[in-house]
Amino acid sequence: MLVFRINIYSTVLLLFVLIFLPSISHSTPEHAIKRIITLSPHATELVFSAGAGHLLVGRDKNSNYPAEVIQLPSVGDAYLTDLEAIVQLQPDLIVLWQSGSHRSLEQQLKQLGLRIFISEPHNVQMIAEEVRQIGKMAGTTSIANKAADDFIWGMNQLKQQYAHRRKLSVFYQVWHQPLITLNKQHFVSQILHICGATNVFSDLPNLAPKVSLEAVIQANPDIIISPDNHRSHWLPWHQINAVKAQQFIQINPDWMQRPSFRLLKAAKQICQQIDPFRH
């Protein structure tokens, strides 16, 4: 009788184990990420900031910072992605920039059973938060949190120092032909705000609106900031305050237009170069 009962108990136990073991193994804490592929230059920088750079096994073709990533294999970019190359690298995490990639890419990667982290930071806080998240997944929490804290601290320092000073208006020129600028939803506007400046086209509805030369003349910015040196283009328009006073700032687009920790370098440069223009 006892033997029988033990038999029943053990059978029930065995059944339990058989039924629940797979789900138990599923719910155990995830193994730390070992192999990462990034599909945009800013994502590559975020992974390095999170202290997980050594886990990177592949990158998009435009990733160029830090310099050592150039030796890693490229899997194309977010529009022309080499899915076979991705599968071959056996990643357990792909960092994807959704708004800068092909619509179907996320779906395709999911169908291949790949884990995806979507990086879409719209402001300074989100950049820091994403680095923390990547650090958590890669098991490098302490490095990631320290880096994120430093980044936020640096931005706050600049804000305390410059944000309250006399407001100057800025035309941020992303591209010259056609003239393309950025609105307030873009983190470039946040950087300008930190430095005590305002974006003249912050209220336009599109993130990266094309504007006419006449509209810039009408807006009459105090400063023109651009990744390229297009000073000579503007010289005929001496009615614009920025041209009249020769207030141009040239900024490295990799610092200013990538949502990564190098944005702090851009912010420092902009804050420091704007300040003398207040006279």
């Binding site: 032909q177 006419s212 006449e214 328009w237």
Partner: protein, 332 residues
């Protein structure tokens, strides 16, 4: 045969429309300039004026752009009229034989490889000429074969250029892509026409007008035309050269602005009939007027944002065209 009175009335009406479009183009924009200020700017002698903001905006921004729009529109509409006769096909338009494809490949290469943007018009013009010669030689050279042969050759060459354009676009970086797509959609602001290009429209227009009797004859078929004493092979070669020249100049100034070259000739045929002595001046005038209006709206409708001019030409042209098509159907 149109009566002298009707011809005169129609052409004066189109003239008035053209003038209105130019004034509209000079008066509208992000900066508010009213008609009195506009008149002051236009009437003041350039040397004595003190380069006010209004003066500078009108003379350096709006006027060159309005002239670009008017000339390009006129050239495209003229090219459309000539192409439709040459190819005996109502779907013919200036870009159908791959002229704009060759120009686009050359212009996009200049942008992609980072050469000075002032080289774009020259490169585009050379690209257009190369494509024109290629199609001309492949379709029989001086002994041109049938219109169908020319049309097929041109369409296939155009498709080839299209593939190269896609290849160039896929190689481009995010930043250059803006310039490339903007050029492909048509951009009237970048390259003001020089005197050479400006004088080309009147010249090409007068030659075309001088051929209008022969073109009228050609409409009844090549056989009837040659029996009426028209040297058909020579006229066809001349037609090809004229339409290619119009297209090449238009494309190298403003990229490929669609729609004008297809729809304006049809629109004018519905209104004034098929006599080329009237059709050629009417189409040229209306093509310029339409593009000038469209470009003004493109840069002022959602000011300070700008939209592609091709979108606006379609927004005006499609309803207008459909309306006239319906009315014509009722008459028939």
């Amino acid at each position: 045969m149109p009566s002298l009175f009707r011809t005169f009335t129609l052409l004066s009406l189109l003239m008035i429309l053209a003038m209105t479009s130019l004034v509209f183009a000079l008066a509208m924009g992000s900066v508010n300039i009213n008609l009195t200020e506009l008149w002051t700017v236009l009437s003041v002698d350039e040397l004595t004026s003190n380069q006010s903001l209004q003066h500078q905006i009108i003379m350096n921004l709006r006027l060159p752009r309005a002239i670009n729009a008017f000339w390009v529109g006129g050239l495209l509409a003229l090219a459309g009229v000539l192409m439709q006769i040459l190819l005996k096909n109502p779907l013919a338009e200036p870009y159908i034989l791959g002229i704009s494809g060759g120009a686009s490949v050359a212009a996009l290469s200049i942008i992609l490889f980072g050469f000075a943007s002032s080289l774009i018009p020259i490169a585009a013009f050379l690209g257009a000429i190369i494509s024109t010669l290629l199609v001309f030689l492949l379709s029989g050279g001086i002994h041109q074969r049938s219109s169908e042969f020319l049309l097929l050759t041109g369409i296939v060459i155009a498709a080839g250029w299209g593939a190269i354009i896609n290849l160039l676009l896929s190689f481009s970086q995010q930043q250059e892509l803006h310039s490339m797509l903007f050029w492909l959609l048509g951009d009237l602001s970048a390259h003001p026409m020089n005197h050479w290009m400006l004088s080309s429209l009147p010249l090409l227009f007068i030659i075309s007008l001088a051929m209008s009797r022969q073109l009228n004859a050609l409409m009844y078929g090549e056989y009837s035309a040659s029996s009426l004493g028209v040297n058909v092979p020579r006229v066809r070669i001349l037609l090809y050269i004229l339409s290619a020249a119009c297209t090449a100049i238009a494309v190298s100034t403003a990229g490929s602005i669609g729609f004008i070259g297809l729809i304006v000739p049809h629109l004018m045929r519905m209104i004034i009939g098929t006599d080329h002595r009237l059709l050629i001046p009417a189409s040229t005038l209306f093509g310029g007027t339409l593009l000038c209006f469209a470009d003004t709206l493109a840069r002022s409708l959602f000011s300070p944002q700008i939209i592609p001019v091709g979108v606006v030409t379609a927004m005006i042209g499609v309803p207008l065209f459909l309306l006239l098509l319906q009315q014509n159907r009722r008459l028939h």
